[in-house]
């Protein structure tokens, strides 16, 4: 079972690469937010998997929980930015 988890987690890491690609290439900030949010949700899974790999599930679940709780805080903050500062193409001017 350990090896299954190991390879699954490697595969998840690979998936994170894909999300990270979206986060890096953009093109808008919102796309980056999607990418980062996706990375966040994969991170939670990966954290628990690491817990299994260490055979100390009970310790890692707290971190994952904290992560799940707070992951969307950053996204909310960023989206709140657009509620108050309109104009997404701000950045286009300075590209």
């Amino acid at each position: 079972m350990d090896s299954i988890f190991l390879y699954s987690s490697l595969y998840l890491a690979f998936l994170m690469v894909l999300s990270l690609v979206r986060a890096v290439i953009g093109p808008t900030v919102l796309d980056r937010m999607i990418g980062v949010n996706a990375i966040g949700s994969k991170t939670v899974v990966l954290l628990i998997m690491i817990g299994f790999l260490y055979h100390r599930m009970d310790m890692f679940v707290d971190i994952a929980l904290a992560y799940a709780m707070l992951n969307f805080l950053a996204v909310l903050a960023a989206s709140r930015y657009f509620q108050k500062r309109k104009g997404l193409y701000d950045e286009a001017l300075y590209r």
Partner: protein, 81 residues
């Protein structure tokens, strides 16, 4: 310590760091910086530093990105590099 994942994430971390610095938009940079700290958190837990990972998770996800966004909100998103 689970070295294969460690290697993979380490590489990702570098990509995220470079991405955060190259994005020509401060909001994007702060969001990418958030992803950087997510991965750092993963890295710590991979290396068995649960407490550090916990801290990084709560700080990176809960506070530092929000602070960045708040500061960008109060200043400007504009950047030339």
């Amino acid at each position: 310590m689970i070295w294969p994942i460690d290697l993979a994430i380490l590489t990702l971390v570098v990509v995220a760091a470079i991405g955060a610095l190259r994005v020509k938009d401060l909001l994007g940079a702060s969001i990418l910086f958030g992803s950087y700290s997510f991965m750092m958190c993963l890295l710590w837990s991979i290396m068995g530093a649960v407490d550090v990972a916990f801290t990084e998770a709560s700080v990176g996800a809960g506070v530092s990105t929000v602070l960045f966004v708040a500061a960008v909100f109060r200043t400007s998103r504009r950047t030339r590099d």
